[in-house]
């Protein structure tokens, strides 16, 4: 068996079977879903049945229809408002809240108040507001003898359809979706570079400080060891992402089945809050379908791999420079971490303004292109620019692994004395 493959295998297996890896891989998606489900869970927890006592002095809202967990009662209309305001929880069976609709004109619905011990949830408030608004609208339309349909026609919905004219083909574009998608891709690569890059660095430091390195490189070439480690850890990262994708999908399905009822309730409530939002969502869904997922994904993978190899080899070289003291390595790691951070900041700026010289250069230079280019692609990038960027990415990858290999093979056996930056440059460019 090829020795580099052996090294890849060891690097991979020893990491993947670690408890910390398994726990992080399994709990990652759960954590992710918890965060995304948190609002629903919280509003669910609040949603014990609420009985609301209503007093309508306007006579405009004779009834409020009950809905999931919300029950309205028109009683005790003769008791003074001020008494109800304080005693709603003890009157009769006791109520959770008291809704007071004062005498008012249908076109000036001021002074509506709701009293409760705890803050009334936003969805409850939105629901009541929209029901009252609907009723008042109907009344107002009648008073002015207007037809609702005519009213709607008076204010037509304006929607600018943005088309991107790059190169030969015209594409349907949606700036918001494009930037979200691009941002997501760039951000994932950013995370990968930081997490797995530093993992490579730690692995190299561990081999150096435990002195196993001397045994290993009397069996294989240092470059084989370095590449084996980089590839092995890269595969660990890939495994984690694939596992997360898989687990999130499964969890989504499970949750969809288990909580189907509650979810649709929540959607109902928020949907009644505004038709406009629903329209925006369906529109977004439509333009998602216009996105060439396969193309984006292949670009993502190219930049993912290119970026990972460039930064992982830099981090490997840095790890080899480490002395026995933990702090030494920070001096060397700092500039590389900065490069990644600067790239993510450029990326954030670029998704706002995708057609600037900054965007162009950052998408070409191999140190920033792995983060910036995937974020730019959804906005439409000319083919020649992509080709140039990939060629440079590939060149950058060869160049950095070559340089890193030279630093690595010398530095990995240097103990005791502190390594100066000047020396490192010497190793890179001389024999």
């Amino acid at each position: 068996m090829n020795k580099t493959l052996l090294i890849i295998q060891r690097e991979y297996i020893t990491r993947v079977r670690k408890k910390s890896f398994i726990i992080f891989t399994l709990l990652g998606p759960v954590f992710f879903l918890l965060i995304s489900l948190l609002p629903i869970l919280i509003s669910n927890a609040n949603k014990s049945d609420q009985h609301i006592l209503v007093k309508d002095d306007s006579g405009l809202i004779p009834a409020l229809p009950d809905t999931a967990g919300l029950y309205f009662t028109y009683k005790y209309q003769s008791i003074p408002v001020n008494t109800l305001k304080t005693d709603y929880s003890t009157i009769g069976e006791g109520y959770d809240a008291f809704l007071y609709i004062p005498a008012m004109q249908p076109d000036a619905p001021y002074g509506i108040e709701i009293y409760s011990n705890e803050q009334v949830s936003l969805t409850t408030k939105l629901y009541i507001e929209s029901i009252i608004a609907d009723k008042l609208e109907t009344i107002n339309l009648q008073q002015h003898d207007l037809d609702k349909n005519i009213l709607l026609k008076l204010r037509p919905k304006v929607d600018i359809d943005d088309k991107v004219t790059s190169g030969e083909s015209q594409k349907e574009g949606n700036a918001a979706i494009a930037s979200a998608f691009g941002f997501g891709m760039g951000f994932i690569i950013y995370i990968v570079l930081l997490i797995y890059g530093t993992m490579v660095m730690r692995g190299v430091m561990e081999e150096k400080s435990s002195r196993i390195i001397e045994v290993i490189i009397s069996s294989v070439k240092p470059f084989q060891l370095m590449m084996g480690k980089i590839v092995g850890i890269g595969l660990v990262g890939l495994t984690q992402f694939v596992a997360w994708g898989f687990l999130i999908t499964i969890l989504n399905i499970i949750i969809g089945v288990l909580f189907a009822g509650q979810l649709s309730d929540l959607q109902q409530v928020s949907a009644s809050g505004g038709e406009v939002e629903m329209n925006a969502i369906t529109e977004a869904m439509q333009s998602m379908q216009n996105i060439p997922i396969g193309y984006y994904l292949s670009m993502f993978i190219i930049y993912f791999l290119g970026g990972y190899f460039i930064y992982a080899s830099l981090f490997a070289a840095i790890g080899s420079l480490a002395g026995d003291e933990e702090g030494d390595v920070q001096t060397f790691a700092f500039p590389v971490t900065m490069l990644i951070l600067v790239s993510i900041f450029i990326m954030m700026a670029v998704v706002q303004q995708p057609h600037t010289p900054l965007a162009f250069w950052a998408s070409i230079i191999p140190l920033s292109s792995p983060i910036v280019m995937p974020a730019l692609i959804p906005f439409g990038v000319p083919t020649w620019q992509i080709v140039l960027s990939i060629v440079l990415l590939f060149g950058g990858f060869i160049f950095t692994t070559f340089l890193a290999g030279r630093i690595y093979r010398t530095a990995i056996l240097m103990y005791g004395k502190k390594i100066k930056v000047k020396e490192v440059f010497k190793w890179m460019f001389y024999k």
């Binding site: 060891r10 081999e207 196993i212 045994v215 009397s218 069996s219 294989v220």
Partner: protein, 302 residues
């Protein structure tokens, strides 16, 4: 008897240090060879060139008829002084991994690891994590990793440091056995009594230069100071005279320094003439330790 290994004019320079300068010597077949030198003398550099970790700037090392640079990694086994390991791995998988890196097949590596663990009384360590082993146990594991692939050339740097006498003896016996089977062994240490016990020939390196090379017995002859020990039934009164000076008196024995080198019979005659009973009379050869210290001190003062 021919030479199995030849070093000719080996040079290696690190940016500001000449680590090795024109080092030339040979290792005869079928010996355990001692590579000696104070710290920082260039021993480790030389070993790293032999193990192909470094390349020499100039010069050549020939082992078993071909240049060391063209040798397979599989022909060489190296146990460094700093004995590192992947602490989180289990003994079995660690051995199998290192064996496979040397080119063994998986099944081969497994069988041999088991065989060696059994042989060194560690048959039940297979599933233990290295970090849970004592230092001596770790070192045994590392010795096994070094010899697992049956290298033709074995380089051991301080193989006994950290071992208790029982385990040191066990490893020593394995070294002798490998030597019997024809493995060339280069043994590096600061412990001169171990060198005297184990090595037949040595090379001493100081400040990157070879300063002494040859068979241990020949070297001792070369550096002998013509001291003799006479053990008496009862110690007579002894003073310096024309033949010798008194070096030291210890119990019923006295060590004398001859004034000219072939006078040992005259000295014996002198005491016989004094009518004292002599139990023993023999030459005191310098220990390698003394030779090492005197040579290195002399070289450092030059």
């Amino acid at each position: 008897m021919g030479d199995i290994m030849t070093f000719s004019q080996v040079n290696k320079r690190f940016s500001d240090v000449q680590a090795l300068q024109d080092v030339s010597f040979t290792i005869p077949e079928n010996t355990i060879f001692g590579l000696l030198g104070p710290n920082g003398a260039g021993k480790t550099t030389l070993i790293r060139i032999i193990t192909k970790i470094f390349a020499a700037d100039s010069g050549q090392i020939v082992f078993d008829g071909s240049d060391i640079q063209t040798q397979q990694y599989a022909n060489i086994g190296y146990m460094p002084e700093e004995k590192g390991m992947y602490k989180k791995m289990k003994v079995g998988e660690h051995l199998v991994y290192l064996g496979r890196l040397k080119g063994l097949k998986k099944s081969e590596a497994q069988d041999r690891s088991k065989y060696w663990l059994e042989k060194l009384g560690a048959g039940d360590w297979w599933n233990k994590k290295l970090e849970d082993l004592s230092k001596g146990m770790q070192q045994k594991t590392q010795f096994i990793a070094t010899v697992l692939h049956n290298p033709k050339l074995l380089i051991l740097d301080e193989p006994f440091s950290g071992l208790d006498p029982v385990n040191a003896e066990m490893i020593k016996n394995e070294i002798y056995q490998l030597h019997q089977q024809g493995t060339t062994i280069i043994f590096s240490t600061h412990r001169m009594e171990q060198v005297e016990e184990i090595c037949k020939t040595i090379a001493l390196i100081n400040k990157g230069k070879l300063i002494l090379n040859g068979e241990v017995t020949a070297i001792k002859q070369q550096f002998k100071q013509h001291k003799f020990l006479i053990s008496f039934e009862t110690l007579p009164e002894i003073e310096d005279n024309d033949l010798f000076t008194v070096d030291q008196i210890n119990g019923q024995s006295v060590t004398v320094q001859l004034k000219s080198k072939n006078d040992q019979n005259q000295v014996l005659q002198y005491f016989i003439n004094r009518n004292v009973i002599i139990n023993a009379y023999y030459e005191i050869l310098p220990s390698l330790n003394d030779i090492f210290i005197s040579i290195v001190n002399k070289a450092n003062h030059e």
